[in-house]
């Protein structure tokens, strides 16, 4: 069979990092199956027996949220938590100078399933089957009219979201950007439980929001690549190629790894680059993973550079966040 471009990549990969002026994390909002905030996260994965950690639905006052889905409520609550953490008044988000980038692998599945299975679904349910309903509710709640992109996928999509946000801040099209991720799988757990190739740790539902503003100093570096097939050798070459592209001769102080199945390859690729601290994400949080990892690394007191890694399907991505202090 002749396909378009096929031939598996042979190492070393010609993988190159994108660079952009690094933003500052001004606030963190986090709700996960572990609980609210960073403090709720366990230090280690060992001892966790649950295969799925479900996040409770936040109770938001107001008639406006009467029809909103659980994932919409989680998104709004995560944004509010980030604003509270950053000491920013909600009213400051209104208008064209606030951007929002949203990433998710799953936070539409419940609404889609409900509409597919119930032919008698209410008229007003259908709009919430669109993934854009989740960030859409956020933009309505806070009257946001700035730059806006939604990316569908796991951790690597969240890295792309962070890079996109940094680009908007660097070029001045926004004064602040919300990077928002939501993952909800409880309602489709009977289906997703069959797809173990997508994850190898307990699935953690959650919503995470980073409030970014310009100017931490330093340069953000981001790269990603996919394996052409599921071979271990291919994965190791991709991990090494991506990490070489992102790190060059830099030595990370913290590794916020969330990469499924890449642990050994990551360790091998990082060997000889010092002994970085780790801020691992305890579980498969999909698009929320990189944000949790960054938040955890920031809270550790290290000033960076922080290496954040993520994997989803055949994709592997890495980002070097230069520093946390402004």
């Amino acid at each position: 069979v002749t396909t378009g471009l096929v031939t598996p990549p042979a190492p070393p990969l010609d993988c190159r990092a994108a660079e952009v002026a690094a933003p500052r994390i001004a606030g963190v909002g986090l709700l996960t199956g572990w609980g609210d905030g960073l403090a709720a996260l366990p230090g280690r994965l060992e001892g966790v027996r649950a295969a799925l950690l479900t996040v409770p639905t936040p109770a938001l006052p107001g008639e406006r949220f009467r029809r909103a889905t659980r994932e919409c409520l989680l998104a709004v609550a995560a944004v509010r938590a980030a604003l509270a953490d950053g000491g920013l008044d909600e009213a400051r988000l209104a208008g064209p100078r606030t951007g929002i980038v949203y990433a998710s692998a799953t936070a539409y599945a419940a609404a889609n399933r409900a509409f597919l299975e119930d032919e008698g679904s209410a008229t007003l349910h259908f709009p919430y089957t669109a993934p854009s309903a989740v960030p859409g509710e956020v933009t309505i709640a806070f009257a946001i009219r700035g730059p806006y992109v939604n990316l569908m996928g796991g951790g690597p999509a969240a890295l792309q979201a962070l890079w996109c946000a940094a680009g908007w801040l660097a070029t001045g099209v926004a004064d602040r950007v919300l990077v928002l991720t939501v993952e909800t799988v409880h309602e489709v757990w009977d289906l997703l439980g069959r797809a173990r190739r997508l994850y190898d740790r307990p699935l953690v539902e959650g919503a995470a929001c980073l409030l970014l503003q310009a100017g931490s100093g330093g340069t953000l570096r981001w790269a990603s690549a996919a394996t052409a097939g599921p071979t271990a050798g291919g994965r190791a070459a991709v991990v090494r190629g991506v990490l070489d592209a992102v790190l060059g001769d830099r030595v990370p102080a913290v590794v916020a790894g969330a990469a499924r199945g890449a642990g050994a390859a990551e360790r091998a690729a990082l060997a000889g680059r010092g002994a970085p601290a780790t801020a691992a994400v305890p579980g498969e949080a999909m698009a929320c993973g990189p944000l949790i990892g960054l938040a955890r690394a920031r809270a550790s007191g290290a000033d960076g550079p922080c290496l954040v890694t993520a994997a989803w399907r055949n994709d592997y991505g890495a980002m070097l966040w230069p520093r946390f202090m402004a």
């Binding site: 471009l5 031939t7 854009s132 960030p135 009219r145 939604n150 990316l151 289906l191």
Partner: protein, 400 residues
Amino acid sequence: MSRAAEPIAVTGAGVVTPIGQDLDAFWAGLVTGVSGITEIERFPVADLRVTRGGEVKKLGRLPWSGDERRLPACRTSRFLIHATREALAGAGLLAGRPDPVRVAVVVGTALGGIDDAGRTLRGQGGLRALCGALYDGPTWNLARWLGATGPVLTVSTACASGGTALGVAADLQRAGRADVAVAGGADVLCRFVQRGFNVLRSLTRDAVRPFDRRRSGILLGEGAGVVVLERAAAAGGRGQRPLGLLLGHASTADGAHITAPDPEGRGLELAIRAALAESGLGPEAVDFVSAHGTGTPANDRVETDVLKRVLGCRAYAVPVNSIKAHLGHTMGAAATLEAIMCLLAGRHGQVPPTLNYGDPDPECDLDWVPNEARRYGPRVSLSTSLGFGGCNAALVLASP
């Protein structure tokens, strides 16, 4: 005027639409006023209020593949692969294969792998269908078919997805993340979405009549549009004459309503102005507009008002069209198909008409190129898109 971003060359394009499954058929259908709206045959619709749409009746066989069993079962993925093959051929890249890790795949979709989701819930298709049912399923199927191992991204800004995807792909190239980007949009017409818009009462029992006083709603369509994007210097180095250039892009939020556009169109206006700023051009440079033009009362009035504000006194002199009456609303594919239409208009020196127009609306009083194609070669085109969740996208394109 702001500093322009690097223009990105569109070196190839491919389409699957209800009026044609290659560029030539698509273009011929557009300029001759062919409508792809028919009775829907592929899934049950007898219980629905509206039973018509822009359906691709039979997807042509892929002439380059002797083994169709190797293709994904997912209809969206097949549309994408079909369109991508044509785009690669047009770009001269079927034979000369770029390094796979330098190839990016960016797909915009409003529905993702919804076809596979239905099969999964019926217990059919196994794990492959389950993975395909996720929103990024069709994108990964395309990446696998291509053998591409560079950035693989799925954009879902509802019916603006196909525009946002092109912008994201251009940004990847400007950042040096890829030498070649295969970018576009795709969605299929299925019971899920037909029933959804049916219960919302957004579908018309009449014809789709963009900007006409009698307009009463949309009809859905399906298809795929794919372009090959390259940095202009690289395309020139291969001796490839580009179809056109992507000069600028912006996507913005409305922050107003989950399904309806902001009545004042502030988000759309910002998207257009930001896309023009990225292209380094002012509104006076725009000489053609491909409007979203769904044929709903709200959308068409808002778009008209925004175009008047942006184009100023020139608004009445700039031809504006909508091809939704030809194809139906192809959702995630729409913005890419409309961008391709803009570039073909520049190449052929002809602008396709807005069909079914006959009763002017005083609130929508621009030059809609009614019913018949016009001899006119736009050099700089603006393409606008809107979607659920308050998504807006604007593209600025140039024909060589």
